[in-house]
């Protein structure tokens, strides 16, 4: 690899840098959407959180997602090192946790429908925030699945694992979003 330094700006940074930059900007944009979501909670129901919100479920879902971020990270490292076995193992593990999370949200919806349906203030917020977030998780699972099928025969190596990096970065983003949504939905108390 050459390390020649060009004085003048080269025509265009390389595609990899541009893709990274583009993804980061997209995340900034999406974060702005989540900010809007979160702020609406304080408008619609102020600081009110019903007693019968399942705290255990909320905490469990949070832990699940945090752990999945760790395995996603391991998958990325494995792809970078060309470690096929671990790449596959960790991607699968992450996807499973993602699917489990979606199941958890489904259960949450089932319960919530009885106590605070969407026609109440808290229900409105709960269904909207978890709904939008679950859609993100679902897209993350799809992306990881995609990466898995493309990469299972060794398509990614040390020089060429950007798709893995991008999918994993998306996954981390979705997790961080949950880290803000969780206290907003469950922990805020008067």
């Amino acid at each position: 690899m050459t390390t020649a330094v060009r004085k003048a700006l080269p025509q265009g940074l390389d595609t990899g840098t541009m893709n990274r930059l583009g993804l980061w900007l997209f995340l900034v944009s999406d974060a702005s959407f989540f900010l809007a979501l979160i702020s609406s909670r304080f408008f619609v129901v102020r600081l009110e959180t019903p007693e019968d919100v399942s705290q255990i479920l909320g905490l469990g879902l949070t832990i699940l997602l945090l752990v999945s971020s760790l395995t996603a990270y391991r998958a990325e490292v494995a792809a970078e090192h060309g470690d096929q076995a671990n790449f596959k193992r960790y991607i699968i593990a992450t996807m499973l946790m993602g699917i489990l999370f979606l199941g958890g949200v489904g259960f949450e919806w089932h319960e919530a429908y009885k106590h605070f349906p969407p026609s109440t203030g808290y229900g409105t917020i709960l269904f909207t925030l978890t709904g939008v977030h679950a859609t993100h998780v679902f897209s993350g699972v799809l992306l990881l699945g995609f990466i898995y099928f493309k990469g299972k025969n060794g398509a990614y190596g040390p020089d060429d694992y950007y798709p893995v990096e991008a999918a994993v970065k998306w996954w981390h983003f979705v997790d961080v979003a949950w880290v803000f949504i969780y206290p907003t939905l469950y922990l805020v108390q008067i």
Partner: protein, 623 residues
């Protein structure tokens, strides 16, 4: 001809298929709900399906999607006129697609305005019934807002910006094509609204009117249209930010960026972030309409008849203006850029206080996020917020004033070349100062309480958006016309257009301040008799302003076919887009350009052409 339109036909077929799938799916879904819903769930999912089908058919699959599934993307580039009807990834084609679409929408919404003025020529109901008036008024508003947002950020930034920074294309060409092809469904949805009962909310769509259970389905179509349009804006904003950061030619340092590029950079930051807020606002409306959620309705009653806390209708106003105020800067910032750009080239002087202008742009971006609630002074928002929002709004006049002074400073003792673009740019300086000054009365709580929702507001924002932005767009259309088409527009017709538009624009909207101050409400078809005369006068001026669009439309269409060949650089301008042929070749420059100086180093004696501030290296042999 049919082969040229084939991509469009394919897209229409696919959107029909997508729409049918969405409709069927929704119909299945609603059988589970009880009581059965109105048609809105079906309409929503049918639209989502149709949109996806449309994008799939127009070329997302052919040029892009195939790649994800390990197939080869089909890159056989279409040539000739049919590329304007296809998923072309050339930024120049996309720029033309945007510009032509937007000019057509502009003329269409302008025709609606003429209808509104017929209705408003006297205080009684004459031409339209109440619903028709509301729909015409709302459609005029939202279409013009779309034109104001996308003409510069989609049209000119696409065509000119990559050329100005010496790039071969934008950073993400396929995403760029996607951002454009998202726009036609928006137009179709809006045009369809009258067939779904119209919509009566104005472009601001405040609940509870926009979520009223007995309201027309047209409101839902409107919400989807605005939402889709927002997606296009977000993708465009991201694309231009990356393009400016990453695709500059050698030597094109940050300090050498043409001022228009800076203004797009600033506006793109707003598109990227603020647009998400209006998206959420519209999603809330859609959800409240289709699923009975309670974002806005103040209290809900549960099954047992117990009152539960519900939502807040002011929530929408906050979320909406958190986008829509910054959005006015998506419109005006690049218009400032165009104004300074053109004034500099036509006075042969560098942009005055270039660095301060750039700082002012970013100050405006920052402040624009902190002033939204000046639209809520009469909405029942907490009184303690009035003062701060008034203050911050008035603070924006400082950076805005810097831009204004820079325009004057650039002209100062310059020798102006009064061609049509320059005339429009000068008119913009004049008009916008009236728009800005009247904004102060609206920002001031004490006066705004009286002026809110009157024709004073209408006159104010027409001064800023039409007088400011649209005049700058006209200037830019004439300025870059030879670059885009390769042909020169007709100068006489251009000046007639300018004189008519400038004169009658001012007469229309200056007069409109009078009923405003006297308290005439906006968004009404029927008004007290005392306002009859003044409105009749406004209507006459408005028709005359409408007439001034005829020479414009004729000039644009006719000169494209019959105009004189313009040459590469008819204005002898120094920025990079003029250093290539008109229209530019597919790869933009024959050789990768290099930049040696800032963009506006006019007025120095230069020994040789090679000392021009920017050049493409000497042409190859035999050229």
């Amino acid at each position: 001809m049919l082969t040229a339109l084939w991509p469009l036909i394919r897209a229409i077929i696919w959107s029909a298929i997508g729409g049918a799938i969405g409709y069927g799916f929704a119909s299945g879904l609603v059988t589970f709900t009880d009581p059965p819903q109105n048609l809105e769930v079906q309409i929503s999912l049918a639209y989502v399906g149709a949109l996806l089908g449309w994008l799939f058919g127009i070329g997302v699959w052919k040029y892009w999607g195939r790649e994800w599934f390990g197939l080869k993307p089909d890159h056989n580039e279409i040539k000739g006129a049919s590329r304007f009807f296809s998923f072309s990834i050339d930024h120049k084609v996309i720029g033309v697609q945007y510009l032509v679409t937007m000019v057509i929408l502009f003329l269409l919404a302008g025709a609606l305005a003429m209808l509104l003025r017929v209705e408003l020529a006297n205080g009684s109901q004459n031409l339209m019934n109440a619903e028709q008036y509301n729909t015409a008024m709302s459609l005029h508003g939202i279409i013009m807002i779309a034109v104001a947002v996308a003409t510069i950020m989609g049209g000119f930034s696409n065509f000119v910006l990559p050329l100005m920074i010496g790039a071969d294309d934008v950073a993400f060409p396929r995403l760029n094509a996607l951002s454009y092809w998202i726009v036609p469904p928006v137009a179709v949805l809006l045009i369809l609204t009258p067939f779904f009962g119209g919509f009566d909310t104005g472009w601001t769509a405040y609940p509870p009117l926009s979520t009223a259970a007995n309201g027309p389905d047209g409101t839902l179509l409107f919400a989807f249209a605005f939402l889709t349009f927002g997606l296009s804006s977000i993708l465009g904003g991201m694309n231009f930010l990356v393009t400016i950061i990453a695709k500059r030619a050698p030597g094109m340092t940050w300090g050498r960026l043409p001022i228009f590029v800076w203004s797009v950079f600033a506006a793109a930051i707003i598109s990227l972030t603020a647009t998400q807020w209006v998206a959420y606002g519209l999603i809330m409306i859609i959800l409240e309409r289709t699923t009975g959620m309670m974002f806005f309705a103040p209290t809900a009653i549960d099954a047992a008849g117990v009152g539960l806390s519900g939502g807040s209708s002011i929530l929408f106003e906050h979320v909406f203006w958190f986008y829509s105020h910054p959005a006015v800067y998506i419109m005006i910032l690049p218009a400032f850029g165009l104004e300074l750009e053109i004034i500099s080239h036509f006075t042969r002087k560098p942009v005055f206080a270039y660095k301060w202008v750039v700082r002012a742009f970013f100050a405006i971006v920052f402040l624009s996020f902190l002033v939204w609630a000046h639209h809520l002074f009469t909405s029942g928002m907490g009184q303690n917020l009035h003062g701060p929002f008034m203050l911050v709004t008035e603070l924006i006049s400082i950076p805005t004033g810097i831009v204004f002074l820079a325009a004057l400073g650039t002209m100062w003792r310059g020798r102006m070349w009064l061609r049509t673009p320059m005339l429009f740019a000068l008119a913009m300086v004049f008009n916008f100062s009236i728009g800005g000054l009247t904004g102060i009365f609206l920002a001031d709580v004490a006066t705004d309480i009286n002026l809110q929702d009157t024709y004073f507001v209408v006159a104010h924002f027409h001064y800023t958006i039409v007088g400011g932005e649209i005049f700058a767009i006209m200037a830019a259309l004439y300025y870059w016309y030879p670059k885009i088409t390769g042909r020169m527009y007709n100068e006489t017709l251009g000046r007639i257009h300018w004189a008519g538009m400038f004169l009658f624009f001012n007469m229309t909207f200056l007069t409109m301040f009078i009923p405003g101050v006297e308290g005439m409400n906006r968004r009404v078809a029927v008004y007290p008799e005392t306002f009859n005369d003044i409105n009749f006068v406004v209507s006459i001026f408005a028709f005359l302003m409408g007439l001034s669009m005829i020479p414009f439309a004729y000039n644009m269409a006719n000169s494209w076919i019959r105009g004189d060949v313009a040459g590469d650089n008819p204005w002898h301008a120094s920025t990079l887009e003029w250093q290539t042929t008109s229209p530019p070749p597919e790869e933009n420059f024959e050789h990768e350009p290099e930049v040696f100086e800032g963009p506006y180093n006019y007025g120095r004696k230069r020994a040789q052409a090679s000392q021009r501030p920017a050049r493409t290296p000497a042409p190859a042999e035999g050229d």
